[in-house]
Each structure stands twice: as C-alpha cells, then as structure tokens.
C-alpha cells in the first residue's frame, strides 16, 4: 500500500463522499490527482456511483478519472435493475408458499437515495419467521441460481436483538415496480445498518453513506428510544456510528447529536483514525480465512510483511463489537487480542492454506532448477502429511478445538 493512501486515503474518501446521498450536492473540494489516488479504493468499496453523482456536472466529470466513476455508475444502474427483478422473483416464490419475508439492507436502503444506481448490491438479505425458515430454504433451493442470491436469516439472526413479532409489526410495505416489499421500520433499520456496518469493521465507506441517507430520510415521528434500544452498549454503538457519519460525511444535524448526547459524550479518540485507516486500505476484514496465507507472498519483504500483518490485526471496531465492548477511550488492544483468541480455531485452516501455497511455490521453483523428481516427491509427501494434519475437518482437531 502506498504511503499516500495509508496516510490520506481515508480522509480523501470521506471528502469525496460527503453529502453524496443528498438530492442536491456540489462537487467535492478535491483535485483530480487526489481523486485518482483513491479512485480504485472508492470503486472497489462500491462507492463509485456516489462519487460520479457529485462530479458529473464538474470538470472532474469529464476527466480521465471521472470516466471510471461514470462506468461504475452505469454498472450499478444495471445491477440495480437486475437486483429489483430478482427481488420480485424471490418474493413471488416465497409468497406462493405463504411466507412473508422482510427485506433488510440492500434495496430497502437503496430506495432512500435520490436516484437509482447509486448503491452497489451484493445479495438479498431476507428475514423470515422461525417457523417458516426451513420451508423458505426449500423454496429458495427450488429457485435455482436466484435462490443462491439470498442471504436468508432465521428471524433477525445476528442482525439484531429485537423481538421478531415486534419487528414485523413495525415493518412497512413499500412498492417495487408494482410488487409490495416488506421492509423494516425506520428505527429498526437504522439500528441494523449501524450495527451491521460496525460488525464488519466499518471498512466500507458506502455503508456509512447508507446510514447517512437513512438518518436524513427518517420520518418526523422517528422514535430515537426505539432506535437505540434498551441495551446501553449497543445504544452507544449506534450513537457513535451516527456521530461518525456526522464527523466524516457531514450527515445529520446538531439536533440529532444533541438527542444522542446521553449515549455519546464524544467520539472516542481512536475511532475516527481507525475508520479512516480502514477506508484507506479498502481491505475487507471479513475474509479471515485467507488472511494469514496471503502474507506468504510478502515473506521476502520484511517491511511489507510487518505492514500487512499489522493491517490484519488492526481491527479495533470489529474487535470491540465482537466482544460486546463499549466505545470509550480505553485502549483497544485487549479487544483485539480477545478477538484473535475468539477466532483461534481458524488457525489450522489457514495453516493448511499456507502449506498448499508453499508446496506449489517450492515445487515450481525446484522444477525450474532441475531438482530431482525423488526430492520433489519426498517434499510433496511431507507437505501432504502436514496438510492433512492441519486440516480443520480432522476429527482430532475438532475434539481439541471444542475442548
């Protein structure tokens, strides 16, 4: 990663995206060269179309870097049309089986943006009642490829702690091209968006734009108490996320911050820099499985190796949320250490991956250097043995990790 991105990438991303979800917004105060530096990060993080919206009427819009953002916007537009069609097909299938799902994130937040195509889609998050879950799985399996597109949740699953019946009672029906879609109530949805974003390490700047648009389009009768919930720790997370949206993207207003003052005295000192560091990396912290093996390629470069290793450990937001910690000014390293221990059972899987990579690398090098077939065979047998020992599906390891 370049020093520039490491130091200023996150800050420039915040500048480029500030206010981008609003119906009226001017071009960012950022030079073409600066925008070029963060263009890849923005596009890869799904925020390219939002930037295009800001620059399209300006000189930046006609620049070379502007063309990249325009392409991202065009792709997101088409993605949106495909996504809406899929939602309709999936809902029709589920409703035919008498199942009424609630659509969270994705289109239910995309509809709040002033125009289509500003948001990137991954999958369709649907929540169904506990009694309907097995049947819903069956319906999705019968839908073929479209069914694979769904992230099905049994009630609210890990998304929220709210009571399912209460959540459904407060949900609302919205029309998508003539099809009724059930989406969460505004309070529940804002809370889910905030906690989901934090749980994933706050790495996606577009996720904070989702929170900003949900915040600014909340209804007049929005109930902050309901949004924050009764759990003080989670209420603090939500309040801090809204504070971050304000601090980094200029979302919300002073009255919102004062409404949340009881939950959020001020943002902890480490929070803003941690989020900006994460944005500057645009490295999804969700891929833990290849995290260590990916370091293998950096073994020959000590400085790079240390930097890469640190970037994998430097997840204070995700670690705090994983361990249900408070967002305060206390050091984050205990949480980060705790999270590492929490995922220690993944170690063997990563080791297996590393062995595979090492085997491939050494084998091809030996082949090039004309090392004898016998030596190569011996090495392969040895690494195979190591690989099978380290596989996490080995019974012995399962017993060990459970104990």
């Amino acid at each position: 990663m370049s020093e520039f991105l490491k130091n200023r990438g996150g800050e420039l991303i915040a500048k480029a995206l500030a206010g981008s979800w609003r119906s009226s917004v001017g071009p960012p105060q950022i030079s073409s060269a600066e925008l070029s530096q963060v263009a890849q990060l923005l596009i890869q993080a799904g925020a390219g179309a939002l930037v295009w919206r800001r620059i399209r009427g300006s000189a930046l819009g006609t620049s070379k870097v502007g063309a990249q953002f325009q392409q991202a916007y065009r792709l997101h537009r088409l993605e949106g049309v495909v996504h809406r069609q899929k939602i309709k097909q999936i809902l029709a299938g589920l409703r035919a089986a008498g199942i009424e799902p609630v659509l969270v994130k994705g289109w239910s937040v995309a509809r709040l943006y002033p125009e289509a195509g500003l948001r990137h889609y991954v999958d369709v998050d649907l929540c169904v009642g506990g009694n309907d879950y097995a049947r819903a799985q069956q319906v999705l399996a019968n839908l073929g490829d479209d069914g694979l597109y769904v992230d099905l949740h049994r009630e609210l699953d890990h998304l929220d702690l709210k009571d399912w019946d209460e959540f459904v009672a407060r949900s609302q029906l919205i029309s998508v091209d003539g099809t009724e879609v059930r989406v969460p109530g505004a309070e529940d949805h804002l809370r889910i968006l905030c906690i989901h974003w934090l749980r994933h390490g706050a790495w996606k700047p577009a996720g904070l734009c989702d929170i900003a648009v949900a915040l600014e389009s909340r209804p007049v009768e929005f109930d902050w108490q309901r949004c924050l919930g009764s759990d003080h720790v989670r209420a603090g997370w939500v309040a801090c996320t809204i504070g971050l949206a304000n601090e980094l993207l200029g979302a919300g207003s002073a009255d919102i911050l004062s409404a949340l003052s009881a939950q959020r005295e001020r943002l902890p000192r480490w929070l803003v820099p941690a989020v900006l560091r994460q944005w500057g990396r645009s490295l999804s912290p969700n891929y833990r499985e290849p995290a260590l093996p990916a370091l293998f390629g950096q073994l020959t470069n000590g400085k790079e190796f240390v930097g890469e290793f640190f970037s994998r450990l430097d997840q204070p937001v995700r670690a705090t949320v994983a361990l249900h910690g408070r967002f305060n000014n206390w050091p984050r390293w205990p949480y980060q250490l705790g999270e590492l221990l929490l995922h220690s059972s993944e170690g063997p899987k990563q080791l297996a991956f590393m062995i595979t990579l090492a085997r491939e690398k050494v084998s091809s090098r030996w082949q090039r250097r004309g090392i004898s077939a016998t030596a190569r065979k011996a090495f392969t047998s040895l690494s195979n043995a190591l690989f099978s020992m380290s596989r996490p599906d080995q019974k012995a390891w399962k017993v060990f990790s459970k104990s």
């Binding site: 890869q44 065009r74 088409l78 991954v122 293998f296 390629g297 890469e308």
Partner: protein, 161 residues
C-alpha cells in the same frame, strides 16, 4: 442461435436483455453473455427503430422527420454495425461495407459534423467491480494488499498476479 438474413431489415433483440434508459444514453445488460453496454442517444434511437420491417434508409428518413434534423443513412449503418457486433440485433444482417479508405473514427467525425447530431457510439462497460462478499480481484486488477487478490499475491506494481 442467430441466423443471418440477406435482407437489410434489422430487428432489435429483446430477449435476454435488461435495459435501463438514462436521459442521454441507454444501458443494456446482456444476460446471456453477461456483458454491459452503453448506447449513446443516436445509437439508441436507431436501435429502437429496428423492428424487422424497416430498412436502414427508412429508419434514417423517420429519424430525420422525428428529430427535425438531417439524419444521414450512414449514421444508421454505423450504428447497425456496432449493434450487430455486440449482439443487440435479433438477426445478423448483411451490412453495407464501410466506405473504403476511411477509418471508423474519421467517418464518425465526418458524420458528426455533417449531420449536426452525435455519431452513434456503442461501448462495452468495463469497470473495476466493487468488492463483494465472495469475490476477489482477478489477475491484473489493482490491489493494495495480497488478500484482495484471487491469487493471494499482490505484486509490487500494485497488480494482482
């Protein structure tokens, strides 16, 4: 499978496409080939009039009437050649060969000036895709860390192996 007809009666393909109309352009996603295309206004105007019953000169006449501006038949042919290439016509048509001794770019420029209307341009949309839940950056894509690459190897030039 597409068949070639000897007639110059182009027909717009409708099956397996997702179409999104923007004020200045039309976006098309080909569900069969998983490719996205962008048609500028002129290309889209021609495409919309490919009903399998109207010949290119007739398309040019109709557009001239509708737009109240000269619409050269060459523009129609230029659009058809591009639409045909990216499979947006239901049937391949026998295309009029381009004028000899003149490049496509020169023709676009000449037509654009002569016709006082933008020459038809059809582009395939290529963009670095957003990082998804289960995807990684393919070989040659820009990366900042190895974990981003499908190959798990981000080279020192910032590209995935």
């Amino acid at each position: 499978m597409k068949r070639t007809t000897g007639l110059h009666l182009p027909k717009m393909r409708k099956q397996g496409l997702i179409i999104d109309e923007l004020p200045d352009e039309v976006l098309v996603y080909d569900l069969d080939r998983h490719k996205a295309h962008c048609l500028n206004r002129t290309a889209a105007l021609v495409w919309r009039r490919c009903d399998g019953k109207t010949s290119p000169p007739e398309i040019a006449d109709r557009l001239e009437l509708e737009l109240d501006q000269p619409f050269n038949e060459e523009l129609v042919w230029l659009a058809l050649r591009q639409l045909n290439k990216i499979n947006l016509l239901a049937e391949s048509i026998v295309l009029q060969p381009p004028r000899r001794g003149i490049s496509r770019r020169q023709m676009v420029q000449a037509l654009g000036i002569a016709a006082a209307i933008a020459a038809p341009v059809v582009t395939t949309i290529i963009s670095p895709t957003a990082v998804q839940a289960s995807t990684c950056i393919p070989s040659g894509g820009s990366c900042s860390t190895s974990a981003q690459c499908c190959s798990k190897d981000c080279k020192t030039n910032g590209k995935c192996r």
